[in-house]
Amino acid sequence: MASAPENEKNASAPEKKTLTLKSMINNEEFVVDEHVALQSVTIKNMVDSDCAGDVIPVPTISGEILALVIEYCKNHANPSASEDDLKKADAGIVAKDIYTLIDLVLAANFLDIKGLLEVTSQKIADSIKDLPHQDVREIFGVENDYTPEEEAAVRAEHDWAFEGFP
């Protein structure tokens, strides 16, 4: 509910600032509105402490993942988006394979975007919920380094958790 005089004041402010994020993995660049990029606490800290140049290099995050991160930030920077819209949009962003989800959770962690970290973590957890550990091993690509005896011992110790599993 901004009043008219305030709007006028805003109009005299400089044009919308943009920032360029550059993936250092494949040198892809993304131009985004500053208020969108500032949802990343990491970027916000850089900007606030004047450490950010025109181009902000983002190490270890590929262009493909950065595009998803920016999509998330854009959605959540839109003040007219309803909670329902955001939920649907988030579900779309995390409807990915496990490789992409892990890259995404690492990106959310590095860039410090709490909401994205939550939805991605939830999605990864959901992908193994209620599954027998043999399936979880497959999904997570875990190499079993137990001997059969060791595995049986660990299982026996936690019998209660394996009810109903082969």
Partner: protein, 220 residues
């Protein structure tokens, strides 16, 4: 980025706190199952800073041949060992204990007190104690809870609570939920001068009894 090699551990490059965060979205049963994946995952499970123990679930899986006392003892060991795992290097974020045995012996009380002392020593932030099934009395909180410096949330079911002492001793507390508890009557004569000493913090005290929820917000 290079195409991932099939069968390579997909979590190899993921820092432990991030994996723990993902694990926090899993029910306790799945968290435990993780320990059987590999030695790395056993370590990850053992250092997980959320402890969520239900006595009923644990006892159900024990062989029927065991006596009641043997089962009790195994549960006590499980509880104390879980808290004291050597891999636990960080603070405990959350400790949740659900006790389902009707009745509370001196010995049980001692074990639960020890468990709570151990988590308070490890700077626990959230404590949830459910003694709903104890019908003959209320669970007395051990004294260490009244000086749990980092506790932010306490959810207590069927406990005997000295509310004022708790508010004074736990400076970070933001949420106190009491269900079927003894001690709430003290809150009603909460002294205004005590509130004055903690300007700017919000405290939610909720009392739930037989389905009715009475929630009051105190600005203290």
């Amino acid at each position: 980025m290079a195409q991932p090699v099939p069968n390579r551990d997909r979590f190899l490059d993921v820092p432990e706190p991030v994996i723990h965060h993902i694990m926090s979205f899993l029910p306790p049963k799945d968290v435990t199952c993780i320990s059987v994946l590999s030695k790395t995952w056993l370590r990850l499970r053992n250092s997980f800073p959320i402890i969520d123990i239900s006595q009923a679930t644990f006892l159900r899986a024990l062989p029927d041949a065991l006596s009641f006392n043997e089962k009790r003892e195994l549960f006590s060991d499980h509880l104390l060992n879980t808290i004291q795992r050597p891999e636990r290097r960080t603070n405990i974020h959350k400790f949740k204990l659900q006790v389902n045995l009707v009745g509370l012996s001196e010995l049980d009380q001692e074990v639960y007190h020890r468990a709570i002392e151990l988590v308070v020593e490890r700077n626990v932030e959230r404590i949830e104690l459910d003694f709903f099934h104890i019908k003959d009395k209320f669970f007395d909180l051990p004294t260490c809870v009244y000086s749990a410096k980092l506790a932010t949330s306490l959810v207590l079911n069927r406990c005997n609570v000295k509310v004022e002492e708790l508010l004074l001793g736990c400076p970070l507390i933001e949420e106190l939920v009491l269900r079927d508890a003894k001690g709430l009557e003290q809150v009603k004569n909460f002294k205004p001068e005590t509130r004055e000493t903690r300007v700017g913090r919000l405290l939610r005290i909720a009392e739930r009894r037989c389905g009715h929820v009475q929630s009051s917000i105190f600005s203290i």
